[in-house]
């Protein structure tokens, strides 16, 4: 699980059936001090949690699929938590 800031949205009308109703967001990986650490990636938001500007936790690889209620979706990264603060 990694920290990232949502920087944008990917608009796609036609997508795989498994992704219907799920937003795709551009996420910039960041450190706990909100400093960019890597190149941006695209993550699914199956819970509809995040919007641009939000600090989020995302998961990658097989876990990204598990973030969907069906456990079956062609995604490499998913947003799983909206971060309210780091103490």
């Amino acid at each position: 699980m990694k920290l990232g800031i949502v920087t944008g949205t990917v608009w796609a009308t036609r997508k795989a059936k498994e992704l219907e109703g799920c937003r795709l967001l551009v996420v910039q990986p960041v450190s706990s001090r909100r400093v960019a650490t890597d190149t941006p990636l695209v993550a699914a938001d199956p819970g509809g949690l995040a919007a641009p500007g939000d600090l989020v936790v995302y998961v990658t690889s097989t876990d990204a699929t598990a973030a969907f209620p069906t456990g079956f979706a062609p995604v490499n990264a998913s947003i799983v938590e909206l971060v309210e603060g780091i103490v």
Partner: protein, 98 residues
Amino acid sequence: MIFARVIGTVVSTQKDPSLNGKKLLLCKEVDHAGNPLRSYHVAVDAVQAGEGSLVLLSYGSAARMTEETRNAPVDAVVMAIIDHVQIDKDVVVAKGGR
């Protein structure tokens, strides 16, 4: 998921039976602004993408997670056709651009 541009179709008659009827696309990876990067991928088409389309491509085991590719020996799938990408209120790449 990575951004890619469909640049061609891969035609093959002799292939694993589970790939029969599946369209294979040759895709060039691009960055989030649509600029071409170095790598190429051959991906199964799950969304009827045409040549020139800007698409999202999933790779690895996630590529098997569509109806089209369930249990098939694939490691890349085109799973969305991008209309546009909006970053910090700017539309950085739009359909049909470049």
